[in-house]
């Protein structure tokens, strides 16, 4: 359980930003918390809120979540190799819900096989941080003056920058993918406004990632560095 505490603190601040964003996009406090409790993923949730705000189609919602969260499949796949024999199907169905970037990173660093008790403890504290952060962010977004919430709505994007800039600075392959994604997203926004927000994110991210993989294939197994 204590392994989850540093993750909890990070999640709290990111989800606070998410809560503010939801209010900004005219979602209710209940909807904001509902999304966080049922999804437990930052990027997917923000893209989901964009789709809801734009009254996008459900197909768009599914595709969006599929592309953005596809990496979890790989993490689940990798963790499934490390599970203790006591991890039966029932436990897998529950614990599978909590596979996020950070929880994956901590769990995969363990040398012992992963028991259900360990995984539940590791998931619980970040889950609480994520839900309570969203609630407080949504409440703050609801009661604070518009000028403050307007400024606070930058928080989430600021954190995204804090996640992508340091690895992009160190690693030119990541910089390449990040720049292509940003450029495509900007071009679609201004030149192809008929493409809705959710699809624009999918298209930009997939083209950037495939281009990155074609020109700079990754050799090591290091999938770390990125945050949830």
């Amino acid at each position: 359980m204590r392994h989850g505490i540093p993750i909890m603190l990070g999640y709290f601040s990111v989800s606070f930003g998410f809560g503010v964003l939801c209010i900004q996009k005219n979602l209710s406090i209940l909807a904001a918390v509902g999304i966080s409790v049922t999804n437990l993923t930052s990027a997917g949730q923000v893209a989901g809120v964009e789709v809801i705000a734009a009254s996008g189609s459900l197909i768009e919602m599914i595709l969006c979540q599929l592309v953005i969260n596809l990496r979890y499949s790989l993490m689940s796949l990798s963790l499934s190799q490390k599970l203790d024999p006591s991890f039966n199907l029932m436990h897998r169905l529950f614990a599978g819900y909590g596979v996020t970037d950070e929880i994956f990173a901590v769990a995969s660093a363990q040398t012992e096989p992963l028991t259900p008790a360990y995984m539940y403890g590791l998931i619980l504290t970040p889950f609480l941080g994520w839900s309570s952060g969203t609630l407080l962010g949504a409440l703050a977004g609801d009661i604070m003056p518009a000028s403050v919430t307007a400024a606070l709505s930058l928080m989430l994007y600021g954190m995204f920058m804090a996640i992508i800039v340091p690895p992009a600075k160190k690693n030119s392959r990541v910089l390449f993918a990040v720049l292509i994604a940003a450029a495509l997203s900007v071009v679609m926004h201004y030149c192809l406004p008929m493409i809705s927000g959710g699809f624009a994110i999918i298209i930009a991210a997939v083209i950037a990632s495939v281009t990155g993989a074609l020109f700079f294939p990754v050799t090591d197994e290091n999938n770390g560095e990125e945050k949830k």
Binding site: G10, S13, L27, S28, G34, T38, N39, A47, G48, E50, V51, S55, L58, M61, I62, Q65, V67, N69, L70, R71, S73, L74, S76, L77, Q81, R92, A95, V99, S147, A150, A151, S153, L154, M155, Y157, G158, M159, M161, A162, I163, I164, V165, V174, A177, V178, L179, A181, S185, H189, G197, I201, A204, A205, A208, S209, G212, A213, V218, N223, E226
Partner: protein
């Protein structure tokens, strides 16, 4: 369409993506290409979500761009997430007060 339907669809999709490999699949992904794509996806997604949305985040392009520049500089110096987020917001807020004071 009701927001609840969106949330339900979103939650089920995300859950299945995580649980299917966790519960069913055995063995590792060998394709170097696929592994590379999956490596780049999180960075590319965050980047595509941030730009150009960050330029409109506050509802005012000038204060948003000021916040963006602060976030870029702070992130460049490896400051923690929360510091980058708060200084960026604070910068935009101060800018909005100054603009409000002038006009």
């Amino acid at each position: 369409m009701s927001v609840a339907v969106y949330i339900a669809v979103m939650a089920v999709t995300t859950y299945l993506i995580r649980v299917i490999p966790f519960a069913a699949v055995r063995g590792k992904i060998k394709s170097r290409f696929l592994n590379s794509v999956l490596y780049y996806i999180p960075f590319a997604v965050l980047s595509a979500m941030t730009f150009p949305a960050i330029f409109y985040a506050t509802g005012n392009v000038i204060t948003s761009v000021i916040g963006t520049v602060i976030a870029l500089v702070m992130a460049y110096f490896n400051l923690p997430l929360i510091v980058v987020a708060l200084t960026s917001s604070a910068g935009a807020f101060i800018a909005s007060l100054i603009i409000g004071g002038i006009s």
